[in-house]
Point group: C2
């Protein structure tokens, strides 16, 4: 899993994910809180950006965070060491073959993971196996096809399209947000409730212009410049123009993106 | 104004607008309430679908509703006659040349109107002229470019694109929702606050599947079938497939659309 992770593993990228988490924390996590002593699995913790939020918002919960990438896990451990009282156990594991007994966890949490997988059903099936009957599953994903802006130019659309196409070439699906409901239903979860978490940015929201439009979304698109040009998806001049056009929305236009949060229950 | 209104004026269309208003009322209007005795102008009332909501939600407000189309006004009057205690005065007028003195109104309300105009700035300028200093302007519009669905096929995208292109050919802008903020700022309104009003539909929300996906959005797209085929924008077989594909989301997939509500103030 994640062997061809589209965003790569470099420190700048890790910084981007941290920025993203800080800016979006309230939007995505305001309704995530696990009870003290409950057993929580975070499947695919990466460098721990979401793990830190989970630990802070659910004091006393017993969190197990797994990822397949040893380097990411090391970074996640380091991040969590700084947090007093966080009860997090890290373990290297493949989310498609979890090293836990059936019905071991009260809750499973998966954030920005399924979008990178060719078979997200496998992780959902494993999540279901390790969940206690009646336990909860939370999945948070974006949907790059939900992006639009004003002014919106053709090059701006093209650079975003490159990110979507590259993620598909890696076996992922950058448009997974819109299909969380059918995915979880087909995986036989009950009480599936999906809510869009909408980012709307205009010049009256300068913190979102910097924190989301520039430092999260445009930074994420910019991160695949070389891959997109090398793959022949776009020429360098159009790429540059697309990024310029995306940046031109800041201070005068609008920027739109939707995340999706699904909360469901393992049948009793 | 509205001389080439893309949706036409026939009774079925009027029924569609009524369905739309009922289904979306809470989402769009829960925060619209004008004080008793305040003077409210609805610019472009059409057949009164929004007027009825305004009157019901703002008892005692003195509402003036204008439209350029005599037939629509007659339908609006008939609709409001049935409402006890509604204080609404109807008047035939061009929203770009309002027959009211400067600073006559406390509030101006405009809903699903600017999208049809080649120069929405003209209506905003007139709204500003008839508003008292410190008065409020409310604008609600959709954005057809915000639509996406799952599964999303090429024909499904094409039929929606037809509606956008036809509205542009009529001099309108079906993507106006995303540019409300810059429009109102350039028209020199203050305290412009835009909020997206997001429709998310999946099979757990059957009332929205019927009320919005089928009877509002797909019905609206279906309404331009003849115009789209006659204009050579699409061939009949692709059209039929696009509608079938949109309908196939109901009961199994997801449907996404955003309206935008802007509330602003005329400077003191």
């Amino acid at each position: 899993m994640n062997r061809s992770y589209v965003h790569g593993y470099d420190p700048l990228e890790s910084g981007r994910l941290e920025d993203q988490a800080r800016t979006l924390e309230d939007l995505l996590h305001h309704d995530t809180r696990y009870p003290p002593a409950s057993r929580v699995l975070e499947a695919g913790c990466g460098t721990g950006a979401q793990t830190a939020i989970l630990a802070r918002r659910s004091p006393g919960a017993r969190i197990t965070a797994v990822d397949i990438a040893a380097d990411s896990l090391a970074a996640a451990k380091q991040r969590l060491v700084a947090m007093d009282g966080a009860d997090v156990c890290f373990q290297q594991a493949d989310c498609e073959r979890l090293p836990f007994a059936d019905h071991h966890f009260d809750h499973v949490f998966i954030c920005f993971v399924l979008e990178h997988l060719a078979q997200p059903e496998n992780v959902l099936r494993e999540s279901k196996r390790v969940l206690k009957p009646g336990g909860s599953l939370t999945v948070i994903e974006g949907d790059h096809g939900s992006f639009y802006c004003y002014p919106q130019t053709r090059p701006a659309r093209q650079v975003v399209r490159c990110l979507i196409d590259l993620q598909a070439a890696c076996g992922g699906d950058a448009l997974i947000g819109r299909r969380l409901y059918p995915l979880l239903r087909r995986a036989r979860f009950d009480d599936v409730r999906v809510t869009p978490r909408v980012v709307y940015v205009d010049p009256s929201r300068p913190a979102w212009e910097e924190g989301f439009s520039r430092n999260t979304f445009i930074a994420m698109v910019s991160g695949v410049q070389k891959a997109a040009i090398d793959a022949g998806l776009i020429d360098p001049a159009t790429w540059r123009q697309g990024i310029v056009d995306l940046e031109a929305t800041i201070g005068q236009g609008t920027f739109h993106y939707s995340f999706f949060k699904a909360i469901a229950r393992d049948p009793l």
